[in-house]
């Protein structure tokens, strides 16, 4: 049997399933208001810079800058772990080898069309690509839904994330 690697194309799909890579949210730097001047110690050695006057009220000098509203958490698309999904696709017995290869061919074809789109050629337009994408996803789901329903559900739930990757030139390049 010739060496068939039907998973390369599906891996692209799987990679797409991983969803857009949302940059990890950097923990916000906690801006604390400057510490209030310590209680004046009588005859304490004068500190070089903190010449706080004892009568000074708790200093509203530098009001902490208003914190920007925390970034809205994007509606969390179910993030499929790429490696896990790839492995699950490899392992599933719901799809035969020839079917996997055939799907890979179709995924490759579709990805090629998206690359053409990203290269600036028209057609295809996104409006033209969407039906092809939907149809291919439907094929995958119909092949999986009876024998690997869980995987089918996860892929279906990741539909928008996959589309997001395909329509983003950089993200698509990362997975190709």
């Amino acid at each position: 049997m010739s060496v068939i690697r039907p998973w390369l194309g599906l891996a692209v799909l799987a990679a797409a399933c991983a969803g857009p890579t949302v940059p990890p949210t950097v923990p916000e730097k906690v801006v604390t208001a400057p510490a209030t001047a310590p209680a004046p110690e009588p005859k304490a050695a004068p500190e070089p810079k903190t010449k706080a006057t004892p009568k000074r009220a708790p200093e509203p000098a530098k009001p902490a800058p208003a914190k920007p509203a925390p970034p809205k958490v994007a509606a969390s698309a179910p993030a499929l772990d790429l490696k896990t999904l790839e492995q699950r696709l490899k392992d599933t017995s719901a799809i035969g080898v020839l079917t996997k290869l055939s799907l890979k061919n179709q995924v490759d074809d579709l990805v090629g069309k998206f690359k053409t789109y990203h290269a600036g050629a028209r057609p295809p337009t996104l409006a033209e690509l969407r039906p092809s994408f939907d149809l291919l996803l439907m094929k995958v789901l119909s092949l999986l839904q009876d024998k690997d329903a869980a995987l089918a559900r996860e892929i279906n739930a990741s539909r928008d994330a996959i589309w997001g990757v395909l329509t983003d030139k950089q993200k698509l390049a990362e997975f190709s």
Partner: protein, 76 residues
């Protein structure tokens, strides 16, 4: 001895019928993925590595094989 080897080679080259239900499903799925009518594969013969002729319930016959990494479905 040479004749024996030749006979063995010929026997190996001849297509043989097979009856693996999973393979039938696989072939039916591939044919459907290519948008060709079939419905159900009732039988198939193995022509070689990744090379089959599938007979569908509706009477259609397709050669399903792999060429240059692509699955090709040809009506017979």
């Amino acid at each position: 001895m040479k004749r024996l080897a030749l006979a063995a080679g010929l026997a190996a080259a001849v297509a043989f019928a097979a009856d693996d239900p999973k393979q039938k499903e696989d072939l039916a799925a591939v044919i459907a993925l290519q948008g060709k009518p079939c419905g159900e594969v009732v039988s198939y013969t193995v022509q070689g590595a990744n090379d089959f002729v599938a007979t569908c319930k509706d009477g259609n016959r397709y050669r399903v094989h792999v060429k240059d990494g692509r699955v090709v479905v040809e009506k017979q």
